[in-house]
Symmetry: C2
Amino acid sequence: MSEQITVALDAMGGDYAPAETVKGAVLAVEEHSNIKVILVGQEDKIKQELSQYTYDLKKIEIVNATEVIDMGDVPTKAIREKKDSSLVVAMKMVREGKADAIVSAGSTGAILVGGQLVVGRIKGIKRPALAPFIPSKKGFSLLIDCGANVDARPEHLVQFAQMGTVYFENVMGKRNPTVGIVNIGTEEEKGNQLVKETYPLLKECKSINFIGSVEAREITTGNGADIIVCEAFVGNVILKFFEGVAKTFLSCIKEGLMSSLRTKIGALLIKPAIKGLLNTFDVSSQGGAPLLGLNGLVVKAHGNSKSSEIKTAIAQCIAFQENSINEKLTKMIQN
Amino acid sequence: MSEQITVALDAMGGDYAPAETVKGAVLAVEEHSNIKVILVGQEDKIKQELSQYTYDLKKIEIVNATEVIDMGDVPTKAIREKKDSSLVVAMKMVREGKADAIVSAGSTGAILVGGQLVVGRIKGIKRPALAPFIPSKKGFSLLIDCGANVDARPEHLVQFAQMGTVYFENVMGKRNPTVGIVNIGTEEEKGNQLVKETYPLLKECKSINFIGSVEAREITTGNGADIIVCEAFVGNVILKFFEGVAKTFLSCIKEGLMSSLRTKIGALLIKPAIKGLLNTFDVSSQGGAPLLGLNGLVVKAHGNSKSSEIKTAIAQCIAFQENSINEKLTKMIQN
């Protein structure tokens, strides 16, 4: 039996909070006996939502926080001024060791700023990085960095590659995973200034298995790399574009399938076979992405997460904890 | 009846050259009575390919060029040293007014360098930009710049927006098309340094209909903008990623549909309805992208173009010519 893990959930963060966050917490403790969730947010609203469910009372706790950080709030200002917001209070619990991890589906910018200011960076880490898994035909790649901390320098990208390697190796159980850098060609001399300066540093870096440039067209075919390094602006564009393309594709196919009686019958026949495939490419269903490099686990769930994605994001914390990712990152940076 | 247009085709450029380029030329003159194609490249090889077809002899001409620029060649070196390459000879024909346009499926880098060095820029244009149409649920958006001329400055991006507006307005027949800039959020203060500096300049620019930031997830949903401005590294990543995702999706769906007798029957029923939709999202089928801002029309076709894409790329030159795009770009920049 694995050890108990306590996750602070920003109950007020996300498009469907607190209804779906609370439901996600209930599902998580139901499915994973070693998880305890602390719902952080406006107590009355949380209690009202919780009243619909039966659950193990020892597994869910409420911590009151009166304020809410909105998507429109300027991140730095919100973190500094809304001291009693669900996000800040939940992050403080991680800093103070009252929780092992925090999950939030709120504003990415606020999570990033809060992660740095409230939870704090691991000593030696220059910048934390948001690292979601993105699906490919052959499995998953880790895209690092997809955050809001743009205009990175070459040394940041090298640390992203190192952190990504430790994370991927442990969570995906693959020794010596490959690292590539997003580029507009595969030749070494290609790229913008940042990529050209970063390339030789990655090549020299002994703690990673660098295989060179990865063209964007290879990311989903699975011929890219396990860990795909890029600057946050580019990573964010890739991630959101993926989301948009997947959405457009699925809705076009759906419309096509519903266009006549003939196609409706066809749709019934093919549904079981392609449903799984299509779900794989729904980026928002992947749960959350960790913000690597902080003194505690911070997981960013998709803004439009429903209860099942919240549940997945909470469950992800188990593997992170069990594999002692943060201890390994700390050790990595000291070497 | 519209005027005659002469297109110089780099017969040796592309993954399937010269077989598919020559075939594409034959298809183009067959379909469009006002097109004449000059096949530029190794005469013996071109003649051999041509011998398979019957076509109007007045509509296809061969100009010999002994050298070939390979994908592995360094662009600047190739353009300067391979003076008798199919690409350079074809571009010279445009510069000297012997052809109205050049189409090539060869190395993007070489086309870009050749465009600037051989064809030359329109006076006042700081950088030419590669501007493909990319499909969305509601039609097409122009993504500018997707070239290999990275690390653009804010004033370049403003010109891209202006050129894109003239091109889109004329070719798509839409007055006052909307312009957006690729960003990682929709708020004005979001973005990297380049976007933050460019945003106010676009806002002030009177000759465009700037509507603000476009998040990457809106590009294919059609809720973005008609003209989507970005720096070439980002544009190139978006374009190639689109290609990769589309390819992965289609192959997953195909595999799903072929997995059992049941799904095979379903596939037959739905095929007519979804085939068109799926083709729309095949970026490589869109023909070519113009390199805007040069003293003549340069069209870059996809490297893996088959004859039908070459045909489309050649045919695209008609609309460009008939709408006097270059005269309008010249006029725009003088104002």
